[in-house]
């Protein structure tokens, strides 16, 4: 795809994203889009570990919980401004990721997945049982939205869904841009090399564990940001949404969209949020239908949707170019 075409498509998508709240007649769809943007932030973080370096972490839900609770506790219990709490929450989650990632990344493959699964379980158990601090299963109500901002005489309110949409859109765009920066940097190339063959990376004298730790901490940071955005959007927190189901959904979003690609987590996040909602027409069978769709998608699109669509477009472009190419005149 030429650079001009890519810029054109990117601009069109950006305009469509900015105009979306005015185009939607039913606010419920804006609600789902906000959740999908939050899940995009989470999935971009998961992609750093799973897609780039090939390590499957089952702790995304746990780190999201840490970000969510950090922001909620700082704003509700400590009385800090919501903006400050939201800004600090990703750093709290990243600090946790650093502490647990250092020992965890000494193990590989399935063992790493099991260790991170255990972290997720521990985090949820602590949140459930440390009632005096977190509210336990009963949860924390009345988590406020961030205050309005005044920029150049223009007041931006986040109390409604429209304002909040722009906030989460910005966060999703920033997470994607961050992923792109990493992917096209030396760090990204080392992470991909680790995914291909970690022993070779070690043999070349590169400290692979540092790069893996970086990916894990950055992933925790983005999960924490997603958690903070979620907490102040929903307005209520209990540990239920942060269990291993959530971590599996993050893995699913990356796998379904396209592991190791930049667009894959976006597509995957939107599918993970919207598909179960659209399948509500199937009533109590919706989760069966959802599971069936996922099985079929995994069988027929093992590399994910984005790589498959991309290959399809490339094939079409090649055939189109061949068809348009002037054929040599057979006459002498």
């Amino acid at each position: 795809m030429s650079r001009a075409l890519r810029v054109g498509i990117g601009t069109a998508v950006a305009i469509a994203a900015l105009a979306l709240p005015h185009a939607l007649t039913v606010p419920y769809f804006l609600h789902l889009t906000i959740l999908a943007c939050i899940w995009t932030v989470l999935a971009q973080g998961q992609n750093l570990v799973q897609g780039f370096s090939g390590y499957v972490s089952i702790a995304a839900g746990g780190f999201m919980a840490i970000g969510a609770y950090a922001s909620a506790l700082l704003s509700v219990k400590a009385g800090w401004p919501v903006w400050t709490s939201m800004a600090l929450a990703p750093f709290v989650a990243a600090a946790f990721a650093l502490v647990v990632g250092y020992p965890s990344l000494r193990v590989k493959g399935h063992y790493f997945a099991i260790v991170t699964l255990a972290y997720n379980l521990v985090i949820v158990t602590v949140l459930n049982n440390y009632e005096s601090f977190t509210g336990g299963e009963a949860g924390m109500p009345n988590i406020q939205r961030p205050a309005a901002l005044v920029l150049g005489g223009l007041q931006l309110s986040f109390a409604g869904r429209e304002g909040y949409y722009y906030l989460v859109l910005l966060a999703a765009a920033a997470a994607t841009a961050g992923g792109a920066l990493v992917l096209h940097s030396r760090v990204g190339r080392v992470l991909i090399a680790i995914r291909q063959n970690e022993m070779v990376v070690d043999a070349l004298g590169v400290a692979a564990w540092r790069y893996k730790l970086f990916a894990f901490v950055a992933s925790g940071f983005l999960a924490g940001l997603a958690g903070a955005l979620y907490a102040h959007f929903i307005g209520f927190l209990n540990p239920e949404p942060f269990g291993t189901d959530q971590s599996m959904n993050a893995i699913l979003a990356v796998t379904l969209g396209g592991s190791g690609t930049l667009l894959g987590p976006i597509v995957g996040a939107f599918l993970v949020v919207t598909l179960p909602e659209y399948l509500r027409v199937a009533d109590t069978y919706r989760l069966v239908a959802y599971g069936l769709l996922l099985v079929l998608a995994t069988i027929f699109m093992p590399r994910g949707i984005v790589p498959m669509v991309s290959r399809g477009f490339q094939g079409m472009a090649t055939r189109l170019a061949a068809a348009l190419r002037p054929r040599p005149d057979p006459t002498p």
Binding site: Y28, G136, E137, P241, D283
Partner: protein, 407 residues
């Protein structure tokens, strides 16, 4: 001069009048969307699905009788029910869909506390009326949200009555096994402990199990070694049934008290009637025909006929919600949610209500939007729950306490 055919005029007038009447009748027939958000799948479905069915039954009955008459208009009801999987995010999504897309201004159901609390956190900003059923977490009505009402009393309202009852039966030491990380069970226990220890009782152990756990023998073995005089079991039906069954299998013969609200059919899926014999359930006076009378009998028969399975004991909370709403709309003479809320707040107990409510003053709901039922002691005797006695309950005092929690 042209003669006017009087017969023709009369016929034309009659036709026109008929058409006008048809047009009026057509214009007056309107539709009212009733939204239900509840756990229709997953562990919470044992409470959520019967609640949703109960509302469906009440809606169908009302439609069959012509609908709800509001002034000159008659409203036919359309029920839209969504599954929230007992998950806060799912509940937020389903309620947003009900309000934004389906245009529901009346929301019923809500069996589980987590998702209900999530919806309660934003429902105050919406022009809708929300009626909560089985979700018993105290804070749901402690916040004083003006458009939220709950038919089931909070868990600790029942817990303190249960504590006094067990102490009065001469039990001095008790061990607790339950889903203690679920808030409304921990609130029940907190109130139980306060009353039980007031008269010198002692809780020897508090053992926890998860909602999906099925093997409780480790907790029971530990408890057995402490030799308590009785066992208190708190949790969803299935895990509690496993506790009762495995206690018998381990040879534990002490009295077993519980707080589960499970039906006979639900328990018998896991434990035999012999294993359940003598178990106490200390809970709001829910669906037991001997406790609630003929109206409950008719409800059970009708529900069983329609859905092919008996209702859960807590399902009438949702059935009663609907009739609270119906009478409030009729009394308000309007479907404006604000007028209907005022009507609910000042209204009495609907005649169709299955549960035995204790009014606060003359109204069914107190200033917190909370209704209270009597609490009862039920015992498993020869294959079924038998209502033994009421538990001492004071809704006025609890209502004041609930109001005092508001920030």
């Amino acid at each position: 001069m042209t003669r006017i055919d009087e017969g023709l005029v009369a016929r034309c007038t009659a036709v026109l009048a008929g058409l006008a009447l048809c047009a009026t009748a057509h214009a007056a027939q309107k539709e009212l969307v009733i939204g239900v958000s509840d756990a229709l799948t997953g562990p919470g479905a044992v409470y959520g699905l019967p609640q949703s069915n109960a509302v469906r039954m009440a809606v169908d009955d009302t439609n069959a009788k012509g609908g709800i008459k509001v002034g000159q208009d008659v409203y036919k009801l359309r029920l839209v029910a969504y599954d929230d999987k007992a998950n806060p995010t799912e509940a937020t999504n389903s309620v947003r869909k009900l309000i934004d897309r389906d245009g529901a201004q009346y929301l019923l159901g809500f069996c589980c506390s987590g998702p209900t609390s999530a919806v309660a956190s934003f429902i105050g900003r919406e022009n809708v009326t929300m009626l909560v059923g089985n979700a018993a977490e105290r804070t749901i009505t402690a916040q004083g949200i003006p458009n939220l009402f709950r038919t089931r009393p909070p868990a600790d309202f029942t817990g303190s009555a249960a504590g006094a009852f067990v102490a009065k039966r001469g039990v001095k030491t008790i061990a607790v096994i339950g889903s203690l990380d679920v808030s409304f069970y921990s609130q029940y226990l907190e109130a139980f402990e306060r009353e039980f220890t007031r008269t010198g009782g002692k809780i020897l152990a508090k053992e926890t199990f998860g909602l999906k756990d099925r093997d409780m023998t480790p907790q029971l073995t530990k408890v057995r070694a402490l030799n308590p005089e009785a066992l208190l079991v708190l949790g969803y039906v299935e895990p509690c049934a496993f506790v009762y069954r495995q206690a018998v299998e381990l040879g534990m013969k002490m009295p077993r008290y519980g707080f589960t609200s499970g039906s006979e059919e639900q328990f018998l899926k896991v434990a035999t009637s012999e294993q359940m014999e003598g178990v106490w359930d200390l809970r709001p006076t829910e669906l037991t025909v001997s406790a609630l009378g003929e109206k409950a009998n008719a409800y059970v028969a009708e529900y069983t006929k329609r859905f092919g399975t008996p209702p859960s004991p807590s399902s009438p909370y949702a059935y009663d919600q609907f009739y609270v709403l119906k009478h409030a709309i009729e009394k308000a003479g309007s479907v404006d949610p604000k007028k209907v809320q005022d009507s609910i707040r000042s209204g009495g107990i609907p005649p169709e209500a299955i549960m035995r409510y204790l009014p606060v003053g003359s109204a069914m709901f107190d200033e917190n939007g909370q209704a209270y039922t009597t609490n009862g002691a039920f015992q498993w005797q020869k294959g079924k729950w038998v209502y033994v006695s009421d538990l001492p309950s004071d809704p006025v005092a609890y209502s004041k306490y609930l109001r005092s929690l508001r920030k």
